[in-house]
């Protein structure tokens, strides 16, 4: 390419100091496009919404003492079920781990190809996409819609608006309805919802989520991304010159001009860009930006302008890819006559991928190695110790034993660390195991009991002996321990 034809990117207009602080809302009605990215978006929409709407109905057999729903947040009993995993409230750190993983995956996506999350997976994008599809289905493409504003009868327009909002509300209602199903047995709750016997809180949450979905996806749309969401601001700090972004290749496109004019210029031997200024990229954009101004905050990088542009390029017989996943650096390199570079494996991406493997590995390892029982001890605070009538000393403890299996289990309790210790359990069963008292804990439950440890041994003044309570499954043999202290006068 000749250096003389090099064109600079178009600059955004300067700020007008007298302009109002707030921009008036410009309602965006994007046109329908067809192409690779549209197909990817449809597929992701069907998969993600399909998972969201249908997952609560998936069953998972956990035996007689546990719910059979594959994914269930059981708030009443403080349990989270995810297929074969069961999380207790004290294991909430797994959720922290999941959030860390999610953040790292977002970072990695960003380093590889910009706002993949925003463009394809974010619920706001997916639902907005669905709502816009419904809008086009009922009211027609933007051009048709504009025509109708002039020609169609009032009755037809009212009917169409009513149909659109009804469909939107139905989708929104279904969204809220699916949400509550994650918190109770789905088939039962569906039946209760339709017979009016579901708990009030279920109806309330459906109402709240119906409202938010309808407002956010139907009315606020791109404003959520542009004004409300912090992610566009954060991602600017995470991207680098190698990250692929939806890019208008101005090295190829400029100087732009109408098809007729540019053909005439080309015929005359004057260089002319591929962009025919048809503005289809702007018309297709769900956030209403002009990608030709370069990468910008409001662009969610959904790739729909790529499809729109490719369609036009095919029609006018010019090569596709005038808008494509590319980097600003490559555009500049091509202008200088250098070959474009695509460097996916670089320090940043390898670091993120490595961190994902490490965090994921730690989570899998801890999940695989966690025990199915637990014990915690609290020493009586008042009194710290008791002198018995025979002169011996006694300390009392409250033990809580956790049985994470879905079967009732018996545990033998032993104490170690006090000379001549005698252990007595309040709340045990009559049997003993090798002389140790035994308690029974119900399936998937905890059990609180009182342990009394006494000794005749003479302890040093202000004694505080470290003691260990060990809890052993009578049948399985699994043992867990908890430390505490034995106090003396």
């Amino acid at each position: 390419m000749n250096m003389a034809t090099k064109v600079e990117r178009l600059e955004e207009p300067e700020y007008d100091d007298d302009a109002p602080l707030y921009e008036a809302r410009r309602k965006i009605y994007p046109i329908a496009v067809h192409g690779t990215f549209r197909r990817i978006k449809w597929a992701l929409l069907i998969v993600t919404l399909g998972i969201y709407y249908l997952l609560p109905f998936l069953r998972w057999d956990r035996g007689p003492n546990a719910p059979s729903q594959a994914v269930l947040v059981d708030l009443a009993n403080g349990r989270f079920y995810f297929f074969f995993i069961e999380i207790w409230p004290q294991e909430i750190y797994y959720v922290t781990g999941l959030l860390i993983l999610a953040a790292l995956v977002l970072f990695l996506m960003n380093a590889v190809a910009g706002r993949l999350w925003c463009g394809y997976l974010c619920p706001q994008t997916v639902w907005t996409d669905l709502f816009q599809a419904i809008e086009r289905m009922v009211e027609g493409d933007p051009r048709e819609r504009r025509e109708k504003l002039k020609t169609a009868s009032r009755t037809q327009r009212v009917f169409e608006a009513a149909a659109k909002h009804t469909l939107w509300l139905m989708v929104a209602w279904w969204t809220g309805g699916a949400w509550v199903l994650y918190f109770a047995d789905a088939p039962t709750l569906v039946w209760q919802l339709f017979t009016g016997t579901a708990p009030l809180v279920a109806y309330l949450w459906i109402a709240i989520l119906t409202f938010t979905t309808y407002v956010l996806a139907g009315h606020m749309r791109e404003q959520v991304c542009t004004y409300m969401c912090p992610w566009p601001r954060i991602q600017a700090a995470l991207t680098d010159e190698y990250a692929f972004n939806v890019t208008y290749r101005y090295d190829r496109g400029e100087p732009r001009g109408s098809f007729k004019k540019s053909e005439a210029l080309r015929a005359a031997g004057v260089p002319s860009g591929d962009c025919i200024d048809c503005k289809q990229c702007v018309a297709a954009c769900p956030t209403g930006v002009d990608i030709r101004l370069g990468s910008q905050l409001a662009c969610i990088q959904c790739g729909l302008c790529i499809d729109a542009c490719d369609t036009v390029m095919n029609k006018v017989g010019r090569p596709t890819g005038l808008i494509a996943y590319d980097t600003e650096m490559n555009v500049e390199r091509r202008q200088q006559g250098l070959a474009p570079v695509a460097k996916v494996f670089r320090a940043r991406t390898l670091l993120y991928a490595g961190l994902i493997v490490v965090v994921g590995g730690i989570m899998v390892a801890t999940l695989a190695m966690r025990g199915s029982e637990g014990v915690s001890v609290i020493h009586d605070r008042n009194p710290l110790f008791v002198r018995l009538s025979d002169g011996s000393l006694r300390n009392a403890y409250t033990l809580r034993i956790v049985n994470k299996q879905s079967l009732p289990r018996r545990f033998a309790i032993a104490v170690d660390g006090v000379p001549e210790a005698q252990l007595e359990i309040v709340g045990g069963i009559s049997e003993t195991e090798n002389g140790h008292p035994v308690v029974e804990v119900g399936p998937d439950q905890t059990y609180e009991l009182r342990a009394l440890v006494s000794t005749h041994a003479k302890l040093p003044a202000s004694a505080s002996l470290p003691v260990t309570f060990s809890v052993t499954d009578v049948i399985g043999g699994e043992t867990t321990t908890a430390p505490d202290h034995f106090k003396g006068p």
Binding site: D380, P383, V386, L388, S389, D390, G391, R394, V426, Y447
Partner: protein, 293 residues
């Protein structure tokens, strides 16, 4: 028109109220409409509330409201809800014997939880929140019981109290041997030294106890209740004097004071104040603290 012109503030373009202080004029910015309507709505709400609910005090009584709502009824509903929540367990607790409750881990757990709450409300002021007691108020965690530490004995004490106004209360009398001039001071001191020797308590420096005389005094005056060996008698609430547990202190002065002035601690009868199920729960809770026999 001229008047109107005069009342508009030049800077803001807002009309003024015509009030002026030291050249400062008050702008006429009325309340926002939504605020005003909210205010009116509140007034309407208040009037509706007066009619519907108890509101105005009268000379003797109050306006009761057309809905007939009473805070007492609301509490009754809450109490009924509580009973429903406790449901089956409360029922079982009511019917099971004390021994049955202790034998059933689930029921024991329920009774102990209810007992702990009732103990905190009713017993903790004297016995302490952990039932560790204090001077004059026995520690309920240990195994030394003046009136018996079996489930039935604890329940009996709870129901009828000690030296209370209840007809079936435990009654025992530790005379004031010194104050009532039943024993001369030297004999009291000798008896105190003898009693302390039963528990092998250390003799204070400079004291030469006359154990022979003390033994004689003890056998004549104390053994009737505390037993010849000093091990006490729960029928009379006479404490065991040979163990390491001293309700009023084990110092020489404390023991002399006990013999001189007598002791008569009081525990109220709870039978009439608490319902039988709560008494049961309390019995099991105290028994399970660790000292129960």
């Amino acid at each position: 028109m001229a008047e109107h012109q005069k009342n508009v503030d030049a800077v803001t373009g807002v009309s003024t109220t015509g009030h002026e202080w030291d050249g400062i004029r008050e702008l006429n910015n009325p309340l926002p409409r939504w605020w005003l309507w909210t205010f009116y709505a509140c007034i309407v709400w208040a009037v509706v509330y007066w009619i519907a609910y108890p509101a105005w005090p009268l000379v003797s009584g109050y306006t009761s409201g057309v809905l007939g709502w009473k805070s007492r009824d609301a509490i009754e509903v809450q109490l009924a809800d509580l009973r429903t929540q406790r449901g089956a367990f409360a029922e079982k607790l009511q019917q099971a014997s004390l021994a049955e409750i202790e034998a059933n881990p689930e029921l024991l757990s329920f009774a102990r939880a209810q007992g702990r709450a009732a103990f905190g409300d009713n017993c903790a002021p004297c016995h302490g929140t952990g039932a560790a007691g204090s001077v004059g108020y026995p520690n309920l965690n240990d195994d030394d019981w003046m009136w018996g530490g079996s489930l039935e004995q604890i329940q009996q004490t709870l129901l009828h109290g000690i030296r209370s106004t209840d007809a079936d209360a435990h009654v025992g009398d530790m005379p004031a041997f010194g104050r009532d001039a039943m024993l001369p001071r030297p004999e009291i001191v000798a008896a105190a030294d003898y009693v302390r020797s039963l528990s092998n308590l250390p003799v204070p420096a400079g004291v030469t106890p006359d154990l022979a005389k003390g033994k004689e005094v003890f056998e004549t005056n104390c053994a009737a209740c505390h037993g010849a060996d000093g091990k006490g008698n729960i029928e009379l609430g006479a404490p065991n004097l040979t163990d390491g547990i001293w309700l009023y202190g084990s110092g020489r002065d404390n023991v002399i004071a006990s013999i001189t002035n007598g002791r008569a601690g009081i525990m109220p009868a709870w039978g009439g104040r608490l319902d039988p199920t709560t008494i049961k729960a309390l019995t099991v809770y105290v028994h399970a603290l660790g000292g129960g026999k």
